[in-house]
């Protein structure tokens, strides 16, 4: 019999990472994510793996990239200011196509900001924080069981697509202790990377939209991995045609598989006339508000994004064909509000409940906003 446990959100992340066979952690302490590092510092050495506390976040992601290249499944955890320091390396990992998972337990910002208060204000940093055009995957759990399942999914996606995956987590969810029934080992699906014994030097060679194979970098040929734009061998190039092809390859490996990557949950959407778009802790307030509104006869539903990047554009566009009223609920000054505005039609009435003062929304506040339609 599986027993329910009471676990902190940060610990759920760490336990899920170990279940996904994460075997390397390099990190730097930062509130409110430190418990992940603390847990890993106890558990990984016990299993014979490495936990390294680094001198800053630049070093954290640098070590993760190195460890990933040499075949480890890597995790690092940070918060807003530390995530900013990771941005250069994040671009590097996208460019060199290196799988890794970053947990960003968001706090109010900018700068030291509101270090002990929740915020959902790193959504655009996750998307556009690093320089250059690049694809990114960011997942956004809201409930304890989702924290577990999305962490495992993050490892699977990063392994499959050879890309960094970011888990955005709300401070309140990371710090709260909730009851959770952890799945059995056999019920967890773990993507097994196919390690290709390379036959030639064309490590980045593939057709547009094709999944990249995972190459054992240090067996066979001396492989060249480069932060410069490179050709199919990994060697630097500035030939416009090759550059164009490599950029397209990197984008398409994500955008070709949107069905697999983009996940969301819907509540009370069958007959909804008003749709709430939300995620994380705001989605939890919204769900409670939806239930209250339903009792009062208001036909409202909730669209909870689990994948925030790539943005769930296609399913949302589909919903906007029927639903003509949308309310965006987020703990920031309107970061996904603009995404919703970009993809909804002119005849959709748009409202947003926004706040970035460190206090999560209460269901009543969401309900009041629903009543404004």
């Amino acid at each position: 019999m599986r027993r329910k446990q009471v676990l902190q959100g940060n610990i759920i992340v760490a336990k899920a990472a170990l279940a996904a066979r994460c075997n390397f952690f390099a990190g730097y302490p930062i509130t409110p994510s430190s418990e992940i590092a603390q847990f890993m510092s106890r558990e990984l050495p016990r299993m014979g793996y490495d936990f390294i506390q680094m001198e800053d976040e630049i070093a954290s992601l640098g070590a993760c990239i190195g460890a990933s290249l040499s075949g480890r499944k890597v995790l690092t955890a940070t918060s807003g200011p530390g995530f900013s320091l990771m941005q250069e390396h994040l671009g590097m990992a996208v460019m060199a196509e290196i799988p890794l998972v970053i947990v960003n337990v968001m706090r109010g910002g900018p700068s030291t900001g509101l270090p002990t208060k929740p915020s959902q204000s790193d959504i655009m940093q996750a998307r556009w924080g690093t320089h250059g055009d690049h694809p990114i995957i960011a997942l956004y759990p809201a409930f304890a069981d989702e924290i577990y399942s999305e962490t495992i999914r993050a490892f699977n996606l990063s392994e499959k697509f050879w890309n960094p995956v970011i888990i955005l987590l709300d401070e309140v969810l990371a710090k709260a202790h909730e009851d959770i029934e952890l799945p059995r080992k056999n019920d967890i699906h773990i993507y097994k990377e196919k390690i290709h014994r390379i036959k030639d030097l064309n490590i980045y060679d593939r057709e547009i939209g094709e999944n990249p194979p995972r190459v054992d970098f240090f067996k066979g040929y001396p492989i060249h991995i480069d932060g410069l734009e490179h050709d199919k061998h990994g060697w630097p190039t500035s030939d416009p045609e090759t550059v164009n092809k490599m950029q397209t390859l990197r984008m398409q490996k994500i955008y070709h598989y949107l069905d697999e990557i983009v996940k969301f949950k819907e509540y009370y959407m069958e007959d909804a006339e008003i749709m709430i778009f939300s995620f994380g802790v705001s989605a939890r307030s919204s769900l409670a508000a939806v239930k209250m509104a339903r009792e009062q006869g208001i036909k409202v539903g909730l669209f909870q994004a689990l994948t925030i990047w790539p943005f769930p554009k296609i399913p949302l566009k589909e919903r906007f064909k029927q639903i003509k009223k949308v309310l965006t609920v987020e703990l920031n000054m309107g970061q996904t509000k603009y995404e919703i505005e970009r993809i909804s039609l002119d005849d959709v009435e748009k409202k947003a409940l926004l706040r970035a003062n460190g206090i999560p929304f209460t269901p009543n506040e969401v309900l009041d906003k629903i009543r404004e339609f």
């Binding site: 302490p29 430190s34 590092a37 001198e55 800053d56 030291t112």
Partner: protein, 301 residues
């Protein structure tokens, strides 16, 4: 005048600039360090803090415990923010304002060291003070590179303890050949104040490394702060000395007899897991480092 006579005999300035009501834990060593520092530097002082205990201890608006202008900057930039402020003030001819970077060991030994090295190499006219409580206390007692060998922290658990010695910051800074570098302890305020006064009158980059115990993180009763700080010096775990121009070393505490390290270690919960061989290892290391230091003192007399 009787009062005047007493005043002239005091070795520690009487005026209190730091106020009560700060948010430090009971027995916080860092607050004692700040109190002495402000006594020497007075109100014509500007502070830069990175993220550290003191960025919280100072207190929320409208209560500021330091009573002087303060700039709380990004984690890695205490030194260079001070450099910028100092050159800005110089440009306006305000040369009598002391600019002090005040940072914990994490913001100094780890993430901040690049900025400190830059400021030291340029010989920026600032004073950098690191209050060393030997871990990231503000984020919940994670190890830093100032954490000593064998100490427990939340990221160096007992099953995987720290197996490297503390980074030798003073040596690193002295290697930049800056005018003045020193270590000090809150248990020896006269010495600390003398060093602060010296630094105040030196042009260029100065760094003072002040040992400031943290009862919360070291797992010891708060009334032991000063005692433990004194034992750290008496055992030679934290020798107090100064280096001028990167080469001339001077020991400020050099008695005939020393206290064994056990007396220091046994007072603190963070060393509770250590066994006899652990004490021996630390004792041996302390003696080795002391010999090294004494050689430097003799060589560069």
């Amino acid at each position: 005048m009787v009062g005047g006579e007493i005043m002239s005999k005091l070795t520690i300035p009487q005026e209190e600039i730091m106020s009560s009501g700060h948010l430090g834990c009971q027995g916080c060593g860092a607050t004692i360090a700040m109190r002495y520092m402000l006594k020497v530097f007075g109100r014509k002082t500007m502070l830069t803090f990175p993220a550290c205990c003191w960025s919280v201890i100072d207190g929320p608006w409208p209560y500021s415990a330091v009573s002087v202008p303060l700039f709380h900057t990004a984690f890695e930039t205490a030194a260079i923010a001070a450099s910028g402020i100092k050159s800005g003030l110089d440009a306006f001819g305000k040369k009598d304002i002391n600019v002090i970077a005040w940072a914990g060991d994490g913001g100094t030994f780890d993430i901040g060291i690049q900025a400190i090295s830059g400021a030291a190499e340029r010989n920026d006219n600032i004073l950098y003070i690191v209050y060393d409580n030997e871990a990231y206390m503000n984020t919940g007692i994670q190890r830093s590179s100032a954490t000593p060998w064998g100490a427990w922290t939340t990221t160096t658990p007992v099953n995987n303890p720290k197996n490297r010695p503390k980074k030798d910051l003073v040596e690193i800074i002295a290697a930049h050949r800056v005018p003045y570098t020193a270590t000090a302890s809150i248990a020896y305020p006269e010495d600390f104040i003398k060093k602060l006064e010296k630094a105040k009158n030196i042009e260029g980059f100065k760094l003072i490394h002040i040992f400031a115990p943290c009862p919360t993180g070291w797992k010891m009763p708060p009334d032991l702060t000063v005692k433990v700080a004194r034992l750290a010096v008496q055992t030679r775990i934290f020798p107090i000395y100064e280096v001028e121009n990167g080469v001339s070393y001077k020991l400020n505490f050099n008695p005939k007899k020393f206290v064994p390290v056990d007396e220091y270690l046994k007072l603190q919960g963070r060393f509770r897991h250590l066994k006899e061989d652990g004490y021996k290892f630390i004792q041996k290391n302390v003696e080795y480092e002391w010999e090294l230091l004494k050689k430097k003192v003799e060589t560069f007399k």
